[in-house]
């Protein structure tokens, strides 16, 4: 009889956990522990310059709820994330359907459409800032010459970053511009992976295009769509740079999102505890949502 630690199962476990250890240690040390520290911050009255903080329980979260700007930021965050998510999904799907066709210049087109995704975001946002300029906007120049909007200085000259709904739409658009090529490629990957034989078989069975799409393509690309969306959503939720560089939440909070509010409160004004509470506010909501999503995903794959 072999001792238990020599059994194949035990050896597999040892091997497995050894393989896992580096990743777990890395992430645990550099995110796990600092994260616990952030949690502690969110429940303390810490400020940037005062290391001696005392525990204040949920007061910082209550403070966030008393703050009117917080509700605006919460609403904008949801609109921004969901709106951008939907747009990226729609544009990405359409583009993927076009790119899956065979046509001349496909490689070139593919190369061109991925550029938005490969530019460093902090810098491409500045390009957009220039294009959204209230006076020298090239977009407005073109629209104005086409007669779609008025001349500079008239009421029909859109101020992209100045009108509340337009401003929120503009920051969302930059996120979409950057993200839709990625959605398209992920979906393209899903589509090209559907073996042609299956589609042929379905054709023989007399399924029309819509049925084929519904029964074969959708179930096969759904998992990748989910995981792509999950990562992208999380990234969008916590991304500060677009709003920070374009409007810093203005005018009058029209584009304020939780990350900018947290940054301006916690870092620039130095009220670390309250900043941490604002930035962690969605965590308790996101956590169960992500767990459910990931579990379903994994189960489906087995």
């Amino acid at each position: 009889m072999r001792p238990w630690w020599r059994t194949p199962t035990a050896r597999r476990y040892v091997f497995g956990y050894t393989l896992l250890a580096p990743a777990i240690l890395y992430v645990g040390l550099l995110v796990g522990i600092p994260f616990l520290f952030s949690l502690y911050l969110s429940m303390s009255d810490a400020s940037v310059g005062d290391p001696v903080a005392s525990f204040v329980g949920l007061q910082n979260f209550e403070a966030a709820l008393e703050n009117q700007a917080f509700y605006g930021a919460l609403r904008n965050t949801l609109v921004f994330t969901i709106g951008a998510g939907i747009l990226k999904g729609l544009l990405g799907t359409t583009l993927a359907f076009l790119l899956v066709q065979s046509f001349r210049g496909r490689r070139l087109v593919r190369a061109l459409v991925v550029i938005p995704f490969t530019l460093p975001i902090a810098v491409s946002v500045l390009g957009w800032k220039w294009m959204f300029d209230s006076q020298f906007s090239v977009v407005n120049w073109a629209l104005s010459r086409l007669g779609l909007i008025g001349a500079y200085g008239s009421a029909d000259w859109p101020v992209w970053l100045g009108q509340p709904h337009l401003a929120l739409f503009s920051v969302m658009f930059v996120n979409v511009w950057r993200g839709f090529p990625f959605s398209a490629i992920v979906l393209l990957a899903g589509m090209t992976s559907v073996a042609p034989e299956i589609i042929e078989a379905a054709k023989v069975d007399g399924a029309n295009f819509l049925q084929r799409f519904q029964r074969i393509i959708v179930p096969m690309i759904a998992p990748i769509l989910f995981i792509g969306t999950a990562f992208d959503t999380v990234f969008t939720l916590s991304d500060l740079s677009i709003v920070y560089l374009l409007t810093n939440g203005g005018p009058d909070g029209a584009t304020e999102i939780l990350p900018t509010l947290a940054y301006n409160t916690g870092i620039r004004a130095g009220a670390l505890g309250r900043g941490a509470a604002i930035s962690l506010f969605l965590f308790p909501l996101l956590l169960p949502a992500m767990i459910i999503l990931l579990r379903t995903l994994r189960r489906r794959q087995y």
Binding site: Y13, L20, A23, L30, L119, V123, W130, L287
Partner: protein
């Protein structure tokens, strides 16, 4: 689709082909405009002389003063742009290396070894992605200085894997699931241990997944701004995005031309590399989610 696909005379087939192409192209045009116009505009801005930028009376899409290399010259001779590029490349290289060395074994273990708690561990690793950087950078500053890396690009090599590892672990996890068990078993029968099978059989067939991970490590590293801002303040040590965004804006003066030049010079080559690997990349992510 009409039942006559593939039949009929060559001429009508040709017409159909032309019509299909036209359809696809007209569908693509809006996308190309949205994706490419800003890039085109950035390129034009980079090559324009300053006064030419502020003219609204003439068609802005072309030059009204002779194009100039001044902005590029400025970037290369008056800033540390070359250092920034070298830093970005070095950071990406090391981040990719660390990510592969940790995420490959982790993804494999989670996907293939039927470990107890594997699912929860996998979810746990993903969850670290949810922690907002705006607060995390403060405790991380302590870590960075304890490691003695403050104000060196190495600080970013230490920090960026905190977001590339979770992402790539999940990516690779899905990918390894698609590798047939049989080839691994065959290798083990041939005398390889489990590790040998992983190294000699599984990895070689997984290389699209590995490339995908590298590409992601690279692009994710380029999206950071806050960490580099907090940890690197020395000009020669900055990566490109930070260098461009902090040294080419001076409060109420924007050096538009150099800003755009600085962005394009890194973005476009990456896009080209991206495209070279796009097919592998596609099969890489495909493996990740679709069996």
């Amino acid at each position: 689709m009409p039942a006559s696909v593939g039949s009929g005379n060559p001429r009508s087939r040709r017409t159909r082909e032309v019509r299909r192409h036209l359809l696809v192209y007209s569908g693509l045009i809006p996308f190309l405009v949205i994706a490419v116009f800003p890039i085109f505009w950035m390129a034009i801005t980079a090559l324009k002389q300053e006064p030419d930028l502020y003219r609204m009376d003439v068609v802005p899409f072309w030059f009204h003063l002779p194009p100039t290399w001044k902005n590029f010259d400025f970037l290369f001779h008056r800033t540390f742009y070359v250092d920034w590029i070298v830093n970005t490349m070095s950071i990406s290289f090391w981040v990719s290396a660390i990510t592969l060395l940790t995420a490959v074994p982790a993804g494999y273990a989670l996907a293939r070894l039927r470990l107890p708690f594997a699912e929860n561990l996998g979810i746990g690793i993903f969850m670290t992605y949810l922690v907002p950087a705006i607060i995390l950078f403060i405790p991380l500053a302590r870590v960075v200085s304890t490691l003695g890396l403050q104000d060196m690009w190495w600080a970013l090599v230490a920090v960026y894997p905190t977001f590339t590892i979770p992402f790539c672990t999940w990516l690779l996890m899905g990918f390894f699931k698609t590798v047939p068990f049989e080839i691994e078993e065959a290798a083990m029968i041939d005398g390889c241990g489990q590790l040998g099978a992983l190294l000699r059989v599984v990895l070689p067939v997984s290389w699209p997944g590995l490339i995908t991970s590298v590409i992601f490590s690279f692009t994710l590293s380029m999206q950071d701004f806050l960490y580099s801002l907090a940890f690197v303040s020395i000009s020669e040590q900055k990566p490109v995005p930070l260098g461009v965004a902090t040294e080419l804006i001076r409060g109420d003066v924007y050096f538009w031309g150099s800003l755009m030049a600085g962005a394009l010079l890194v973005g476009v080559p990456v896009a080209i590399v991206y495209n070279l690997f796009l097919d592998k990349f596609i099969s890489g992510i495909t493996g990740a989610a679709v069996k």
